[in-house]
């Protein structure tokens, strides 16, 4: 970086881009510190149970479901959109997969394909109504929030479907690439679901930061009209992020059902809040135009740590819910646009 800069008269170098960059990175660095502090706090408060390999593994496994959703949500929010339906889509896709298996189904592949396809289809419905029906994302996905939950409940008469038949009726020793392997299997001691989450994170980072598509996504959120005039296929981009969100909801469904060994019509409740919260505390702008996959990743870890800690401190889920909301609110408050000059 040895570029010479001609200093134009009267324009002193301001914090400019560097300031912006630092601001974004600041949030990322700050989150790294938060993650470490939370871990240290846990280690001090619960030295026997918190800083253990078991607990870390547990946290990461649980975080992977929200994490996968949060990656998709980062793309949606980067276009200045929102998807409130992800939790319901997870439930509906799981139920659809379970019902497709029938009573004696033993094909993991069938479940996985069915769940992925169904979630993607639901996401596509969102995409069509938002990109081509010009429905505001908040409303379109709020409708889907209700529709998908309803479908989940309808599919098996409000009853969950056990998926343990895929594994001989119990949780023990799943075969590689069978459904339960994604939930309970391990490679080198680390759960498979964590690998899936990490792979999707890396993929999302590359897609957002190093491809034409990713740049187009952020441009649409930054200034839709300008993006259109610059030749970005705005409608197609908006369409695509909701389809992508649906597909990733499908992946999250597979991870969740694999871990629980069942599909439940009431699962995934309020997952959208966790995913949106992780994205927002990661520094992605709700107004669009600025997105950070690293931030989202750290946001997911932050949430996971906080809830693991609170659970271990025997705080009720109600308290956890209040805390969750407050954290999201705080993150948005910190993100207020700075005064312009």
């Amino acid at each position: 970086m040895t570029t010479s800069r001609a200093e134009p008269t009267g324009v002193s170098r301001s914090a400019g881009f560097v300031g912006r960059l630092k601001q974004l990175q600041f949030q990322e660095y700050a989150l790294v510190v938060v993650v470490i502090l939370l871990f240290v706090a846990g280690a001090i408060l619960k030295p026997d149970t918190f800083p253990t390999w078991d607990n870390v593994r547990n946290m990461l496994t649980q975080a992977s479901v929200i994490g996968v959703l949060a990656m998709g949500m980062t793309f949606v929010i980067a276009t200045a959109g929102i998807d409130l339906s992800v939790g319901s889509m997870v439930a509906a896709a799981g139920m659809f997969g379970g019902v497709m298996l029938g009573d004696t189904g033993t094909s993991s592949l069938l479940f996985i394909v069915a769940a992925l396809a169904f979630a993607t289809a639901l996401g596509t419905v969102n995409a069509i109504s938002i990109a081509y029906g010009r429905v505001v994302p908040f409303i379109a996905t709020l409708a889907m929030f209700s529709i998908a939950r309803g479908i989940a409940l309808l599919l098996n008469d409000k009853l969950p479907v056990s998926l343990l038949d895929l594994n001989g009726g119990n949780f023990g020793e799943p075969a590689v690439f069978s459904l339960l392997w994604f939930g309970t299997g391990r490679i080198l001691g680390i759960p498979v679901s964590v690998y899936v989450f990490l792979a999707i994170t890396v993929g999302a980072w590359v897609l957002l930061n190093r491809t034409r598509y990713g740049r187009h996504v952020v441009s649409v959120g930054g200034n839709r009209e300008a993006a259109r005039i610059a030749g970005v296929p705005v409608r197609r981009i908006i369409f695509s992020v909701y389809v992508l969100m649906g597909a990733l909801a499908g992946v999250a469904t597979v991870l969740l059902c694999a871990r629980l060994g069942s599909a439940s019509p009431v699962s995934g409740n309020l997952y959208e809040l966790d995913a949106i919260g992780a994205v927002v505390i990661g520094g992605t702008s709700l107004a669009g135009g600025r997105a950070s996959i690293v931030g989202t990743f750290l946001g997911v870890l932050t949430f996971a740590l906080i809830f693991s800690l609170m659970t271990q401190l025997n705080l009720s889920t109600e308290v956890q819910q209040v805390t969750k909301g407050l954290i999201v609110l705080g993150a948005v408050l910190l993100q207020r646009p700075e005064a312009r000059y």
């Binding site: 800069r5 001609a6 200093e7 134009p8 008269t9 009267g10 324009v11 002193s12 170098r13 301001s14 914090a15 400019g16 881009f17 560097v18 300031g19 912006r20 960059l21 590359v206 930061n209 190093r210 491809t211 034409r212 740049r215 187009h216 441009s219 930054g222 200034n223 009209e225 300008a226 993006a227 259109r228 005039i229 610059a230 030749g231 970005v232 296929p233 135009g289 600025r290 312009r340 000059y341």
Partner: protein, 503 residues
Amino acid sequence: MSSILEVRDLVKEFPGVEALQGVNLDVSAGEVHCLLGANGAGKSTLIKCISGAHEPTSGEILFMGEPLPVGDPAGSLKRGVATIYQELDLVDELTVAESIFLAHEPRRGPLLNFDQMHREANALLARLGHPAISARTKVRALRPAAKQIVSIARALSVDVRLLIMDEPSAILDEGEIETLFEVVRRLAADGVGVVYISHRLDEIRRIGNRVTVLADGRTTASGIPASTPTDDLIELMVGHKVEQLYPDRPTAADEVLLDVRGVRRLPAVRDASLELRAGEVLGLGGLVGSGRTELLRIIYGLDERDEGEILLDGAPLARSPSGAIAAGLGLAPEDRKSQALILDWSSAKNVTVASLRRFARPLLSIRGERTAAREQLRKLNTAPDDPDRIVRLLSGGNQQKVVLARWLLRDCRVLLLDEPTRGVDVRTKAELYRIITDLARAGVGVLVVSSELEELVGICTRILVMREGEIVAEIDGKTATEQELLRHAVAPTDSPDLEEEVV
């Protein structure tokens, strides 16, 4: 005359930037005081300090002998300091009347008094000479010029003692400017002090009493007569004489690049045909609302057309922006901030956004992008020489260069420029004219829409005039005069009036 506003040794620092480094300004009641300065000289910062939007670092601002509350725009407004900013800060979803009375709505008990609001709004608009703007229209539906009028009406809706206008004429056409001047003169006659910021030096003599010049955050002249010769003013603004504002006019080749035949999109464009040749700068003049911008948008594929054909090199042009770009078109739209730029992005990313395919192999080469963007930005002499600078922080002229660099990077063959020098200072204007002319010399066909007649006369090979959605005249650039353009631009019945005022 009594002094209504006194600014003494005003200093305003932002982190890393000394925007104002000792500014003095003295405005009397009943005068129109012009504020001149190149982009980045500190004019906007100064007026934001006066209006209370910024808190000065040091120095005094006395309004009618008393200090104004710092950092309190509402308090300043209450005392009678009204500001009309360059960026029209109106809410799209409100009606005209609601916008005018926003935050001081007339009420009947706890409820809004809509009757009174509409009545007074109509009265204000009539006073501004724009009774045709309906108080019940949504702001969204208004063109920029009409929004400007609403902003002015809003300033007038309080009992204003000091009116600050930041380039009010930048988006108005000649007729509207004269109406605006009438209003300003009337306000001054009522004892209101007016601070008038403009880049158009000719306006200063038409409207101003005295002039204060800013350069690099300092006042280089305070309260000198408005009759000061233009050359002297420019020298005070830029520190040196602008050698030549307009470069030599390029000549057209025989090859027709763009052929527009009988295009129609009601109500704005009724029937427009034109041929754009390689190597020429073709001007498109006319009043605001005559359909010029709309015609550009149709050519570029942003808006559908009802009828007509558009050919590039004899083949039909795609009907979408991405198709038009692929065929070699580029558009620098009317409103850079809302239509051309992603303000939170760096210059580099704004330049490459239309050419990403060339950097994708298949992953984007960020370094390659940056290098290519910098090369184009340097060609245009963009300041600062920093492709990572966020474009929001650039001056208007440099923002425009970023937009042009985007199309230079694509080697585009037809460039559509809508008000390319709006809000740009004289020195940068001269640079932009040279860039435009050089592009034409390199074989690009340039179609320029402008409300500044002088600029069309100065740079164009040929000039077309639009009126009410039709192209009504074609004039050779060498022989064109502003009066002639204006005569064609206004409807025949109005022309005698306006001509007299302009001459």
